[in-house]
Each structure stands twice: as C-alpha cells, then as structure tokens.
C-alpha cells in the first residue's frame, strides 16, 4: 500500500480546507490536502462564484430586455437573445480560472494535494481511495475535517429528473418554461430571480409566511416588491406534497388545507443545506456531535485531541468566509500561535435583486438579548447615487446601544449593497460608535453615504432626511 505521513492532513478542498492548507504551508507545516472533487469546494464550483456569474448574466440580459420595451434613460435595443450554452461556458471559464488559481496557491505554499475520497481509519490515519488505483494511506499528527455541506433532499421528492438542486440549476442546458422553486431562502430566491430574468416563469413555494424568513419584514419588503415586478409568484405558508403522477406539476397545500398544483418543467429544491458527515468514516472517531454538526470549541478543536473541524460541517452560519477564517486560525494554532475564533460579527449577504446584507444584531435580536438599543434607517430614496443607479428602493439600518452608542448591528437592502458589508463588518469589529461612523467623511456621491446618514439619524441629526 502506498503510504506517507504528514503533520497536517486536511480533508476537503473547499474554502475552509484550502485556506487552512495554504496558511499551514506558509507557516512551514508539512501539509497534505485530500479532495475527491475539484478544488474550491461548493463555493467555487457549485455555490457562491458560479451563482454570482449566472446572476450577473441574467441581470445583463434582463437589462437589455428591459431596454427593448423602452427605457426612461432613452436607450432602446432590438429584441435581445441569450445563448444559455455560451453563458454556462463563460461561467465555467471563471470557475476554472479560480480553481486553477487555488491549485497554484496550494502548490506555491508547498501543500501536497491528493485526489481521491478520504476514509478515516483513526484520528491519525486516513485512507484515500481513487478509482483504478490502490488505496493510499496517509498518517498525520493533526487531522482537519473540512468536508462542508450538501443540499438537503426532500424524502418525498428526491433529486433526479425534473427535480434539481442548485448544482444543476447553475449549469442549465436550456431555460425551463416553468420553474417551481421550493424554499424562499437566499439560494431559492437568488436562483429564482436569475431564472425569471432569463425568461422562465417562476413560482416560489415557502412553508413560512414570509420570504427570506431568516430576516425581518422591513428588510425583505423591497425584495418582495421586486419579485412582483419580475412576475415571480410566491406561495407562502404552503407545504409541498410532491410531484403529481405525470411528474409535470408540483402539488402544494396552503395553510387552509387546500391543495393545488403548479405546472413545472423543472423543480428547484432549495430547502437548506446539511453538513456532510457521512461516508468518510467520521463515525469511527466517535467524536462529540452538536445535532448534525461536528461539535467544536472556539479554537475549532473537536472532542478528540488534534482532530479539528471547520466550516459548514461545524454549524451555522454556513458561509465560506467563516470557514476561511477558521481554517486560517487552525493553521496558526497548529504552528504554535495562540488564537481563538471570536469574531464580533460575520456578514451574511443575500444576492437577490435587491441585495440584502445583515451584519451583527438586528434590532429585534439585540432587544431579545436584553440590549437597550436604538436603531435608525436611512432610505436610498434620499441618496443621490442610488437615484442615479435607478435603485431607490431599500435602506441602510444601524443598531447601537443606547448607553454608549456602540454599534452592534447593520442591515441593508438595495442594489449593490453587498459591497457595504465590508464597512459594516469593519465598524463592528473595530468597536465603532455611532459618533465614529457619523464623524467619518463618506465620499459623495456613493451609496456609502447612507451608512453615515443612518448613524447620524440614530444620533438624532441626519442631514438629508
């Protein structure tokens, strides 16, 4: 049997795993990374990056279509068309460039990448299986589990045929005439909106009474309005019963118990993601679990010594940037540095149209924690740059403690607000107060002015409203 030993063995080459490996390599820790699929994991291959590419393409196409029916800007075009095959090729090109970049970075840091499926033998040994090759045994001092997550399947409507997950939805061969999206969370809405812009007739079914149920109603209202504008029909408070017999429609039942069916060429199931904890021998370690997740402490240590876990497999929020920060930290701890995972806030961005950003506590959450807080929002309707971008819907909202004005949360909804997440997260990590942000000159004319104005409004003296 093929055999080698290393100091750090990373299982999974997603954003958490590859960052951990690169940082470990930089720190001189002999590191091996095992990945069964492509480097970059869900994020680069079938998640963040390709979805943003598809969303961008859909947006451009929709813009052109919009101009075809006349525009206030005075632009007109002839009926635009989209070659979806070419769009997917372009998207795949971006993905290939990024995954290739990850491979190059790993190589430069001296990380040994082993392709194949990892199977844990014990806390210090992993066997890697690859078709047509004899298994390879890798011994290590530290084992880092970064196996990520996968789309949750509905038992009564498994993936296959017309029922697809986000992975398939990101590589369409054709745009379906009718698409039913199950789940109005961020994945369902991002893709639902993109498909609607590409010309599909989209229905969204959600069991709860609101879209984006993780966010508050004020924040999701502009998104709900935008869905109407795109002729996306939402079926809230409805549960999905399954496909009808012919397989061409989805049967649903509303809160009143009435059943109906929605015609569908394709059904996108986006009801959440599950940690990937099966199929690689994790159970042999008998480490402590936290529900479906692997239980870790604030240094990402599992209950077994020198076995670490990061990213989606360790719990919410399942976000690439959380996994990356954890991966970097674990590498540094192994190198002998003292580190803890203690972010003040982790930004969550929803790339719907308009976009939604949440960093830190919402007013409701802050009050639920017993914080006496003030909050204030500044609408983009009063922001010059937003007007010039034709996106007056939305706002920036700040939440701060009443006693010392420490900012504890930011929320925003509007076009392109995802980029504001940097400013939001930084102000919270730095421990900024309302006066700090209010006293910082924000460039005019930018959407960022709304950040300053929200802070000033919370202090009782906004200037533009």
């Amino acid at each position: 049997m093929n055999q080698h030993t290393t100091t750090l063995l990373v299982v999974g080459g997603g954003p958490g795993g590859y960052i951990a490996a690169i940082r470990a390599g930089q720190l001189g820790i002999p590191t091996t990374l095992v990945e069964a699929g492509e480097l970059g994991g869900t994020c680069l291959n079938v998640g963040c990056i390709p979805s943003k590419a598809l969303i961008h393409a859909a947006e451009e196409f929709e813009k052109a279509s919009h101009f075809a029916s006349g525009s206030a800007l005075g632009i007109s075009v002839q009926a635009p068309r989209i070659d979806i095959g070419q769009t997917v090729l372009w998207k795949d090109g971006i993905v290939a460039r990024l995954t290739g970049g990850v491979a190059a970075l790993l190589k430069r840091s001296g990380v040994r990448v082993v392709k194949g499926w990892a199977n844990i033998v014990d806390g210090k040994t992993v066997e890697v299986i690859r078709d047509g090759e004899s298994p390879q045994r890798i011994g290590c001092e530290h084992l880092l589990l970064a196996t990520g997550s996968h789309a949750t399947e509905l038992p009564f409507m498994p993936f296959g045929g017309p029922v697809i997950s986000a992975t398939e939805a990101l590589s369409p061969k054709t745009v379906p005439g009718k698409l039913v999206v199950v789940g109005a969370g961020y994945i369902g809405l991002e893709l639902g909106i993109a498909y609607a812009k590409l010309g599909a007739q989209v229905h969204v079914v959600e069991a709860q009474e609101r879209i984006l149920p993780a966010y508050d109603a004020d924040l999701t209202r502009p998104v709900a309005i935008a869905l109407k504008g795109l002729d996306i029909e939402t079926h809230l408070g409805c549960s999905v019963l399954g496909l009808d017999e012919g397989g061409g429609a989805v049967r649903i039942r509303n809160a009143a118990g009435e059943e109906s069916s929605l015609n569908a060429d394709q059904v996108l199931v986006a009801v959440g993601r599950r940690p990937s904890t099966r199929g690689f021998g994790l159970e042999k370690l008998r480490i402590d679990m936290d529900g479906h997740f692997i239980k870790v402490d604030d240094q990402c240590r599992t209950s077994m010594r020198d076995v670490w876990a990061i990213g989606d497999v360790t719990g919410e929020p399942m976000l690439a940037h959380r996994a990356m920060a954890q991966g970097e930290m674990v590498a540094e701890i192994i190198s002998g540095k003292r580190r803890h995972f203690s972010p003040a806030a982790i930004a969550a961005v929803c790339f719907t149209d308009p976009e939604v950003v949440v960093v830190g506590a919402t007013p409701q959450a802050a009050r639920a924690q017993g914080i006496d807080c003030i909050d204030a929002m500044f609408p983009f309707a009063a922001n010059g740059r937003a007007m010039s971008l034709e996106s007056k819907d939305g706002f920036v909202r700040v939440v701060a403690r009443r006693d010392n004005h420490l900012i504890v949360g930011w929320q925003a909804v509007g076009k392109a607000v995802s980029e504001l997440s940097a400013a939001f997260a930084q102000s919270i990590e730095m421990g900024a107060t309302l006066e700090d942000v209010g006293g910082t000159i924000h460039a005019h004319p930018t959407l960022g002015e709304a950040i300053q104005e929200a802070a000033l409004r919370a202090l009782g003296h906004a200037l533009h409203i």
Partner: protein
C-alpha cells in the same frame, strides 16, 4: 481665577473604588506642576497623583483612608485663568459620551455636570480629541462591563493580547464605549511588570502573575521526544559508584604529557572508550527497538549520542563510529559537535542516528540522575560528578575520587541482570584503565 478639578483616576484593573492613602497637601497649600498631591492605592499598587497645574489647593475630596469611587472629585485647585471646571467640553474626561448619553452606572460622579457656564457645544462631536491629558488626571468615564459581556477590542488588539497571553476581560478599556485601545493593553502589561518588582510595599506580597509560554520549535520537539520516550519505554534505572582515582591519574598524566599537542582530555572520551569496549560483551545495549514492528536492531557501529545543552534547549549530537576513534579523536569530535549544536550549524546527520547515549552535566552532575532514554535506543548512561570521598580499602580509610554512573535501560528488551552486568563491566574498565586499551 478658575478651578481645576482632578478626579480619582481609573487605575485600571476593572475596579470601581480606590483607597486614598495619604495627602501630601492641605487646603491653602500652593502647588506647582508635577508636585505630588496624594497617594492612592488599589489592591495591586500604590500610585502617586501629581499636579498637572500651578495653583492653590481649594478643596480636598476625601480624608486619608477613605475609599473613593473612580471618577469622584479628588481635589480642587484654584488656578490662574480658566480651570477645567469651566472647560468641560474640551476635557478628555468623557470621550465620546455625548451629553445625551445615559449616566454611566459605575461612576455616577463622572457624568460631567452639563457645565453650567459652558458655551453650547457645537455638534455632539464629543469624540473631538481634546488636548492630551497632561498627567494621569481624571479617569475616563468607565463603562462597567456587565457579566458575560465581551471586552470590546479591535481584531488587531485581540490578536496581540493572545500573543502576549493577556486575557482582555481584565483590561480596562479607555476608548469610546469602553473600547480597549493599544495604549490600554500596553499600560496593563507595563503595570503587570511593575507589580512584580519589590518596589511596591514588600517582597512578601502575593504574586498573582502568570505567564503562558507556548511550546514552539525545538522546545516542542524536546517535549514530544521526552513524552514519547516515557510513554513507550518502561525505564529501569541502575546506579553504581565508580572509583575513578586511577582514571583521573591517567587523565592528568595524559594531559600533562600530550595536552599541548593533542588537546586536553575530559572524562568523556575515556568513558566513550569504556562503553565501546563493554559493548563488545553486551551488544544488546547498542541497539534500537522499533516497538511498532517488534524488532530490536543491534549495531556493530557505536554511534554515540552526547546530550548537549544549547541556548534553544537540549540536543543530542552524534559521534559516528566511536569504536574507530582514539581518545583524542573522540575528544575533538565531541568538542566539534557540541560547538556545531550550540551555534545551530549541526547537520541532520550529526543530530540523529545514535545507537546509545551519554548524558553528562559535568560539575552539575549531582549524585544521582534518572536519565530519559533517547527513544528508540535502549540504554542511556548518565554521568554524575566526581567527588573525593573517604572509602574503606583493606580495612583502612582512604580518600578516593568517586563518581556515580546513573543509567537507564528499556526494561522490555534489557533484563535487570544484564543491565547490572553491563554497568559492572564499565566499572571494571574505568577502575583499571589499562584494560581500556587491551585489544
């Protein structure tokens, strides 16, 4: 004339009260800048409060022995021109606390009286950095950290605190909203160092300092090796005393005769020679035990490990083929390897592959040691110091030079009797050094 107020400073440590130990001034006294006004004390340190201004003492805020709240008025000094009682807004005392902010619970007194004579403050830009504090005057409005509340600090400060081994929850934050600034962290660490000096009160104070030192680099390696050895190997130790009078005579003689040309000999080369000769009879001691595979490998070559203390920690440098070296070749090789190890120039080869190891602390050798076997070897010979002792020889007392050898063996593969016989063989050789050279 104005009044300059000095408030009870926040000495950090997360406490709300400070004891006023002693006044150096009384009402009516003229004070000059930097003159000591009072001594205040926390449970950690006594601190002198200097005057930042010239003037006359107008009021004392408390009597000696009184415990005062942080932020309470300590002293009023009448000064030329405007005092700070009028210029509240320009004082750094309440950074970022807009007048609208709720009173700070921990130090109600510090909530600046909305300065009766103050000009209306334009814009609540209370953050405006006022003139830097001239002296440790009035502490900033303290923000009491509630139970379970996280200390507020930027990511850079958090990282630095971890590196320094400082728990931020014990550091007072002087920034807006109680944010811990770099200066707070540095002050905390500096105070910790001061606290360790006997300057404060007496050397018999309780010391609550602690320092966590991460094991990195060589230290971590040493720890792992030692742990590995003790975890895997059941050590059997055996101590025997050796009369080295003859050996020392021989050594003195050799050094006298040849020292200038060939270099001085220590006991080590002689001991190495004794090992080489004794190992011919006991090859099982010159071995490495691969316990995972269950194989003991005996070696013809004697690659002698010599434990060497370096600045970075303990290292074992390896003299290859001790069996092929005479005393002086041994001596010069041991010297060369020790230098290489100490200057960090030793190669991998010179630090690995030994088959048996000698550990000697020279003059610090003590009476007995319990050497830890250099895993995966099976034996280690520890050398203790040479002392003159009264011994009984043929019924009479004589003074002899005595040295103990403390040796450890892997009891899984070396039986106690063989270990004893081996040490006795070494003893016989050392006590009658001519035997060392019989081929």
């Amino acid at each position: 004339m104005g009044i300059h107020v000095i408030k009870m400073p926040d000495i950090g440590e997360g406490i709300a009260e400070v004891e006023l130990v002693m006044w150096h001034v009384k009402v009516g006294d003229a004070v000059t800048e930097d003159m000591i006004l009072a001594d205040v004390m926390t449970d950690k340190a006594t601190i002198e409060i200097p005057s930042p201004v010239h003037g006359t003492v107008a009021m004392l805020g408390g009597a000696a022995g009184q415990v005062m709240a942080v932020g309470a008025d300590l002293i009023h000094i009448e000064v030329e021109g405007e005092g700070n009682l009028k210029a509240q807004a320009a004082k750094p005392a309440a950074p970022a606390q807009p007048v609208a902010a709720a009173p700070v619970p921990a130090a109600p007194l510090v909530a600046q009286p909305a300065s009766p004579a103050a000009k209306p403050v334009p814009a609540p830009a209370a953050v405006s950095p006022a003139a830097p504090p001239a002296a440790p005057v009035a502490g900033p409005a303290r923000v009491a950290r509630g139970p379970g509340e996280r200390p507020l600090a930027s990511p850079a400060i958090r990282k630095r605190a971890w590196d320094m081994g400082v728990e931020l929850q014990f550091v007072h934050g002087s920034g807006p909203a109680g944010r811990i600034l770099l200066s707070d962290l540095e002050a905390y660490v500096a105070r910790g160092q001061q606290g360790a000096s006997p300057a404060a009160a007496s050397g018999y104070r309780e010391n609550h300092g602690e320092q966590a030192i991460p094991l990195i680099g060589l230290r971590r390696k040493i720890a792992q090796k030692m742990q590995e050895s003790k975890r895997r190997i059941p050590h059997f130790s055996y101590v025997e005393e050796i009369d080295v009078t003859e050996l020392e005579n021989l050594r003195a003689r050799l050094n006298e005769e040849w020292g200038r040309e060939r270099g001085k000999l220590t006991v080590l080369p002689l001991l190495a020679r004794a090992l080489v000769v004794a190992l011919r009879q006991f090859p099982q001691m010159n071995a490495r035990f691969d316990d995972d595979a269950g194989v003991v490998t005996q070696y013809g070559a004697v690659h002698l490990g010599v434990a060497t203390q370096t600045d970075a920690g303990l290292m074992v440098s390896v003299m290859r083929h001790a069996e092929a070296r005479d005393l002086w070749s041994c001596a010069s090789e041991i010297g060369r390897l020790a230098d290489a190890a100490r200057t960090g120039k030793a190669t991998r080869d010179e630090l690995s592959g030994s088959t048996i190891t000698i550990s000697s602390l020279g003059a610090l050798g003590g009476i007995v040691t319990t050497p830890v076997i250099n895993h995966p070897e099976v034996a280690i010979i520890g050398v203790n110091k040479i002392v003159e002792r009264p011994m009984v020889r043929q019924g009479g007392l004589v003074v002899r030079k005595m040295m103990n050898l403390s040796s450890s063996f892997d009891h899984r593969v070396v039986d106690g009797m063989h270990a004893a016989q081996f040490v006795q063989a070494i003893r016989a050789l050392l006590e009658c050094p001519a035997m060392l050279f019989v081929e």
